[in-house]
Symmetry: C2
Subunit: 340 residues, 2 copies
DNA sequence: GTGAAAGCGCTAACAC
DNA sequence: GTGTTAGCGCTTTCAC
């Protein structure tokens, strides 16, 4: 447990002043080359590293971003996170991670805690409970306190901030339209995220596609629920009617459950049933048949979010206008849908 | 962008000294109730929060743990991470996350960067490149500098530190034995992680089980490679021989590729082929048939790691002995293996 | 070319 | 019961 080297120590051991050492190490013009060399060599020997906390305190900023993720086990968030991490790191920022576990209380508490000079800004996706209860004051009060926020994916219009989203409505429209194009007449919509902004938008996209193709919305084909057995049973009942030839699943759970239950109930995918889902690419490829998905470019969402935040943090003038970046999705056709 | 409240400001506005405010807010006996009440009320009004950086600097600790993850997209690591996060949070620690991307250089650089007073200790799993090149000095020099490290899953004997691992050898033995018990005679071993400590141990467990059951090790049944198409082809060739009735896959990729290729090549799982893999539970259940796995209790690994580190950080005496905690795995029988 | 001193926000030993 | 002061490690202005 040897104490870390400080300017003070080095100064003392070398018989110079603290400020000389500081200047020498930052290659100041004021210091003679000889002294600089001597000090630098000694510092390297002692493995000197400037203390971050002291610097932070001095400059009143931390070069750290707080990232609040609703659930890191969701691979979408994990991917966005990796995008944030990489971009932030490149631009010299550290990441403090906190997981809200979809809880409003936890989200509030974490953000307040980190807003004590621990981070310069936040990147977050709204916790489910927060979005359901529409309790957004804590965001606004944090922004008012001078800490900028960037929201991604799950956002709200009630907070003025930078945002990065996917064109959920259009993506859902395209996915549904694709199912129609390959001949589906009875397309079910499956969702466990109807309480989220993104869930609602995807539902809208589905409805819009049906409408434009003059297909009546059939309420029996719309299944909403939680990730539980009751939901599974509903899917099975729906499949049992054999009146479905397409499934549009707006979340990973719905997509994979539908696939599995259909296969178990003797459906031939994609012959009898075509499935498209919002889901993670890596695992979708591992399924048999592989799942056609709406790819959300998660790492890019992370990258853009980090850049938005850091741009704001480093901006000369304050109060640049808030931006909303919309990332284009892509329909990845795999084996769970017929080819055109 | 209103400036955050500081002790100094509050003191000035209230016409008292800084230390009075500080003491009042920490409920010191020295201050009269009346003053305390007054100060507390005013502080609450101003939404005062003590500045973390200043406290950290003062106390020479950060209450922050640096977590170095090789790859957050690997759900095992994501799960361990969530265990770490939750436990650390409960005990009052923040998490700074860094992703090594399996690179030695990056791992070194990240750790050195964070070792400048940004974190009190590290929790990490060794990057693949680090483990392959056996380049472990940076760990030792960080430990020597006074920052403790806890390693999990991918570890090395060449670094003295606390460790949390799974009983890889025994788990692999049990998995192989189970395949033998349900009647498999020709058990293939698939691995894309033979360069990792855990990969080697799992291979040992496989060999031990064969040996004890007097089954000759057949080199043609052992497939090692990277996550690429060449590896996929090798699997397909192996399956084409139809000389395999069991697969023990020591990593997620191998397990899922084997399943998929077997299904595509007309195998009936588990009738013709039994598959067990080290893999994530959530997704294994989503496959059809669901995959029997060795469950590694990832969140518990994270929890134990965090506790080990924090125990050491908060220990009164220095140099408690280093501990290695071994977590028991569980064989989760699903539909990719016959029932006994 | 080098050093002294102030200050970032906080705590705590020590005065009064 | 309240205030003064020093100091955590660093940078930076100003003096010499």
């Amino acid at each position: 447990m040897k104490a870390k080297a400080t300017l003070k120590q080095i100064a003392k051991e070398l018989g110079v002043s603290v400020s000389t050492v500081s200047k020498a190490l930052s290659d100041s013009q004021e210091i003679s080359q000889a002294t600089k060399d001597k000090i630098k060599e000694f510092a390297a020997l002692k493995n000197y590293k400037p203390n971050l906390m002291a610097k932070n305190l001095k400059y009143q900023k931390t070069n750290t971003i707080g990232v609040i993720i609703p659930n890191i086990l969701n691979s979408f968030f994990a991917k966005v996170f990796s995008g944030i991490e990489e971009t932030a790191r490149k631009r010299g920022y550290n990441i403090v991670t906190a997981i809200s576990n979809e809880s409003l209380e936890r989200e509030k508490q974490l953000m307040e805690m980190l807003n004590n000079g621990a981070v310069d800004g936040f990147i977050l996706s709204i916790a489910e409970e927060t979005q359901m209860t529409k309790n957004f004051q804590h965001y606004n009060s944090i922004i008012k306190s001078g800490t900028p926020i960037v929201m991604f994916d799950r956002i709200t219009d009630l907070v003025k901030s930078d945002k990065v989203i996917v064109d959920d409505l259009d993506s859902a429209f395209d996915a549904t339209q694709h199912l129609i194009n390959i001949g589906c007449k009875k397309i079910a919509l499956l969702s466990t995220i109807d309480n989220l902004s993104v869930g609602k938008l995807r539902f809208e996209g589905y409805k819009k596609a049906l409408e434009l193709n003059k297909i009546d919305l059939d309420i029996n084909l719309i299944l909403m629920g939680d990730e539980d057995e009751i939901y599974d049973q509903k899917i099975e009942v729906l499949l049992a009617t054999k009146k479905v030839d397409g499934v549009f699943a707006v979340d990973e759970h719905s997509a994979t459950r539908a696939m599995k239950l259909a296969l178990q109930n003797g459906y031939d995918i994609p012959k009898d049933l075509n499935v498209i889902g919002f889901a993670d690419g890596a695992w979708s490829r591992r399924l048999t048949p592989s799942l056609s998905t709406v790819s959300q470019h998660a790492p890019e969402i992370g990258e853009k979010s980090a850049n938005l935040l850091i741009d704001r943090l480093t901006a000369k003038e304050e109060a640049i206008e808030y931006k909303t970046i919309v990332i284009k999705t892509e329909l990845r056709q795999r084996d769970s849908t017929r080819k055109l």
